[in-house]
Subunit: 265 residues, 2 copies
């Protein structure tokens, strides 16, 4: 099979977390970041410096036609921003997990999605080769081009359609955003009793580590999965002054019991 | 200050997860595991072999008086089991996070708690030096003896009373048992859409890693903390066929928003 038409020149739109990381990841992989476009010339200039790009504050000023416009902007402004790039010719690609490919009108130019499934901290470099990159194109040819591009950054590249990506995004909210919040609840409980949250870190680390060996259902421990009603009662009592946390305890305990029951059926 | 009276000879009661690990941890730290006592002679014999102990199926057969009986049994049988060891002379210590020291009658002999704050997998050896050991004694002298003993195993030894330990146990249920269950929910969502749960592992790993740098509240990301109602609405819609998971999504989203509001106040 012929190699897909290479995406070499990339114009990045936005200067947030994702832009900061993808610009670096692509630059290091040998791609040419032609320009960084932002409403703020200062922020565009800052990021441009790191990846030898030209900073711009207006898409109308793009001189050198890139192979791809990569929209690294929030879901809330994506719809408005994309209009400036539609119909210019190059591939237009967004990076949002929760937004379908359809937000980009495919009648004007090829479109796609390049979604890195990771939580990024601005300013903290990381290894990109293990991060799953989920790609989707408006046509098979586009998907292959994006797959080829992502393959230069990471060894974990997967074709995923918009509905699957939406489900992955919801799954990630459960496994990451929500589980982080459970740590926030634990932190509050610990603080209320004069204890340091850090005491829990080895336990949290080991809980996560186990997930690379067993499925989450098989790795489940604790009073709910043992149906240890005495301990559950003690815990609910200990949460007496925190009715909302108590409600979360109750709901998650019931859910663990239900999953266990369904697994055993 | 004089060194506390050393606990050198340890009789271990039980052969479960905690027994398996504590027997090894103490044996490696140079303590003498005099015997392993279990209702099942076979299980006692198996574990005894690893730590050069004598297997027993009846506490009445103990020949050599230990410095401590370490009760590594489930919360549900602890009350019944402890009676066989009360009043024999040696220190009697339990290892339960959710049970107060008061379950052991302190009028008959010194008592204590030695609680390793970690999730253990039977048969999987691990480094014990970083595991927090939470100790409590029926008298200050006993607490110091247990602290001294735990200090041979781990560099993370803390004096914690029964009420604090109960709160730590609840906190651990949130930060570990419940967050593992959120991964189980994510796994179900992924499977329903023909996707592998493992795709989420880098994201889960990074979410955990961040907790060693930032407090959970400061590390919080996702639509709830951004107050991104459009994405939340899309996610609730994606969970349309899973009403119970939808309810968990709603409750945790509200809780994240409440924590954020309280932090900003």
């Amino acid at each position: 099979m012929q190699d897909p038409e290479e995406i070499h020149k990339v114009a990045i739109v936005g200067t947030g977390n994702i832009a900061w990381h993808l610009a670096r990841a692509m630059y290091r992989s040998g791609m040419d970041i032609t320009c960084i476009i932002s409403r703020s010339m200062q922020r565009a200039a800052e990021l441009s410096k790191d990846v030898s790009a030209i900073p711009l504050d207006d898409p109308a000023n793009v001189q050198e036609q890139p192979d791809m416009y990569l929209l690294c902007v929030g879901d809330d402004v994506l719809h408005g921003v994309q209009e400036a790039y539609a119909g210019k010719g190059p591939l237009v690609v967004h990076t949002s997990g929760s937004t379908g490919i359809g937000v980009l009108p495919a009648d004007k130019n090829p479109t796609g999605v390049l979604y890195p499934l990771q939580t990024f901290t601005r300013g903290v470099e990381m290894a990109y080769s293990g991060i799953p990159f989920l790609v989707e194109g408006s046509a098979e040819k586009v998907t292959l081009r994006l797959e080829h591009l992502a393959g230069k950054i990471s060894r974990e590249v997967h074709q995923v359609n918009s509905e699957q990506r939406r489900q992955i995004h919801v799954s990630a909210v459960f496994a990451c955003n929500f589980s982080n919040h459970l740590s926030a609840i634990a932190d509050r409980l610990m603080q209320q009793n004069g204890l340091a949250f850090d005491l829990l870190l080895p336990l949290i680390g080991e809980t996560t580590r186990k997930l690379s060996e067993k499925s989450p259902v098989d790795a489940q421990t604790g009073p709910a999965v043992r149906n240890d009603l005495t301990t559950i009662e003690k815990h609910l009592e200990a949460l007496g002054n925190l009715p909302e946390e108590q409600e979360i305890y109750r709901l998650l305990t019931e859910s663990i019991m239900r999953y266990r029951k369904e697994t055993n059926e």
